[in-house]
């Protein structure tokens, strides 16, 4: 397939807008992706034509909405090659998913157990475990990172032992773009009997992981990172874990019987989907997955890699520019600083030129602490970005630096 970037860009209405008088150059894709018109229209279509509450309705429109919602679950199941559709829990996003699992293990683990968190994690994959540990006394250990932004797997080996119960790692680091060797991490954890949760929030716009082949215990992502809407995400969990974990939230949908004396919980996946879900969000999540598959994740990854190489080379030609995270294996994220200039100043001036980047800690303060910096400028590229946009980033950056020097 030829990657017809012009045609692709035409699908994204927002890319036509101006910012501060300049063409909008959106390089903040790791924070959230933009949405193609197919996804946007699927939301309107739902509300204009078949909005209804789901599952318990006897009427036709409720059935249509239910079928669309459950159809989305199946799209997600197929996309990630999951065995059973009820192993896919629809959540409001990665943060919700991880908290659901942390709550699930609250009473399974105690102070004799250990869990391991990678040093590359987003706050969403750190704080829930700290909160859990504060309640059940589990001991937390950290896999440190090296200068390139790679996890130190030798130290990981030394942290693993028979007390290790859970390991957390993201598939891709949001701050640096590092792609972690999750297959290896999973295998090693399984060797000592520990389960692994992989935070795929940054990966799923770039890769299509085969969860059965990975044999991962939990995998999670947010739709808004992969061309879907906000407020919806998914948690994959192996059936045996989902059955073992208690429900997270109580409410409608997740029970099979309620009396004031006793309540019996519904079967999977409903046990973990209390209350009216984000119906339109789930449907649009499915449409986003269709969209990505139509382009092909392999094609996307190839195109983005060439963009990344182009951008890295250009940026490296700037004196005093230091890139953080130079793993051999990374997605199209460039985190950098200019010596003597604060990231916030760069971000502010780039914005004046219509270029949107993120600055700061990227919800990954431990990584910043590791490098001894207060933050970075992060340009994160998507498949709808172009070399011309990289050129604009480059020239705007040069002008910003000269203004700030």
């Amino acid at each position: 397939m030829v990657f017809d970037i012009k045609k692709i860009r035409a699908d994204f209405p927002i890319l036509k807008r101006k910012v501060n008088g300049y063409n909008f150059v959106y390089l903040d894709n790791a924070a959230t992706s933009q949405k193609p018109i197919q996804v946007i229209d699927s939301i309107s279509d739902y509300y204009k034509n078949y909005n209804s509450n789901i599952h318990r309705g006897v009427h036709s429109v409720s059935q249509e909405a239910t079928d669309a919602y459950e159809g989305a679950r199946i799209k997600i199941q197929n996309h990630f090659n999951v065995k059973k559709s009820h192993e896919i829990i629809l959540t409001s996003g990665t943060t919700h998913s991880i908290n659901l699992v942390a709550n699930g293990f609250l009473e399974i683990l105690d102070e004799k157990d250990e869990i391991i968190i990678s040093g590359l994690e987003h706050h969403s994959n750190i704080v829930p475990w700290q909160m859990m540990a504060a309640r059940n006394g589990v001991k937390i250990k950290i896999i440190p990172i090296d200068e390139n932004g790679d996890l130190n797997l030798n130290i990981y080996d030394s942290l693993l032992n028979s007390k290790t119960k859970l390991v957390f790692v993201n598939h891709v680091s949001n701050a640096l773009g590092t792609v972690n060797p999750i297959k290896e991490i999973i295998n090693k954890a399984h060797n000592v009997g520990a389960a692994v949760l992989v935070d795929g929030a940054q990966a799923s716009a770039h890769f299509k992981p085969d969860l059965q082949e990975l044999d991962v215990d939990f995998y999670t992502t947010s739709a808004h990172k992969l061309c879907g809407p906000t407020g919806i995400g998914m948690l994959y969990g192996k059936e045996k874990w989902l059955q073992k974990m208690p429900p997270y939230q109580g409410g409608g949908e997740m029970i099979s019987e309620v009396t004031f004396e006793k309540t019996t919980y519904a079967e999977l996946p409903h046990k973990f989907e209390a209350g009216t879900p984000n119906i339109s969000g789930a449907i649009a999540f499915g449409v986003a997955i269709d969209y990505l598959n139509e382009l092909g994740l392999e094609n996307i990854h190839k195109y983005e890699s060439s963009l990344l190489d182009y951008a890295t080379e250009k940026l490296k030609s700037i004196t005093n520019l230091k890139i953080y995270g130079e793993s051999e294996n990374k997605t199209s994220v460039i985190s950098f600083n200019i010596e003597g200039i604060h990231a916030y100043d760069i971000g502010t001036l780039l914005d004046k030129f219509g270029v949107a980047v993120r600055t700061g800690q990227h919800c990954a303060q431990p990584i910043m602490d590791h490098f001894g910096i207060s933050g970075t400028v992060r340009a994160s590229l998507a498949f709808y970005n172009t070399k011309e946009e990289i050129d604009i980033l480059f020239s705007s950056l040069k002008r910003a630096i000269s203004m700030l020097s």
Binding site: H55, R56, V58, Q63, T66, E70
Partner: protein
Amino acid sequence: MKINEIQAEIVDEFSLFEDWMEKYEYMIELGKSIQLIDTKNKIDANLIKGCQSKLWLFAELKNGRIFYSADSEAIITKGIAAILLRVFSNQTPSDILNSEFKYIDEIGLKEHLSPTRANGLVSMIKQMKYYAIAYSNK
């Protein structure tokens, strides 16, 4: 009669109706003449899950053939259950397991047989096949 023939026969019968109302009236009639489950078998263990109305199913093996009986609080559910019984009752376990339940779509029952429908009929078909599995090992 073979399972497929029975299905064809039912489709024929339904093709005579001019509108959905006649069809539903007939289904309601069928519900009234269902092979009713014996009171002693109308117990919680024989309830089909996932219905808004209670739906009971029972099966016995006689001379190598399975005979189903059922009941439901809702007459429409009962009518469709009656159709399912007519298709699958008095058949051998292996015929039941090898059969496809597809002609029936043509009579407009499909909407009632969606896996997400709150009437439990999909679970009922599953349960009928489970009985067939159980009895084929005997």
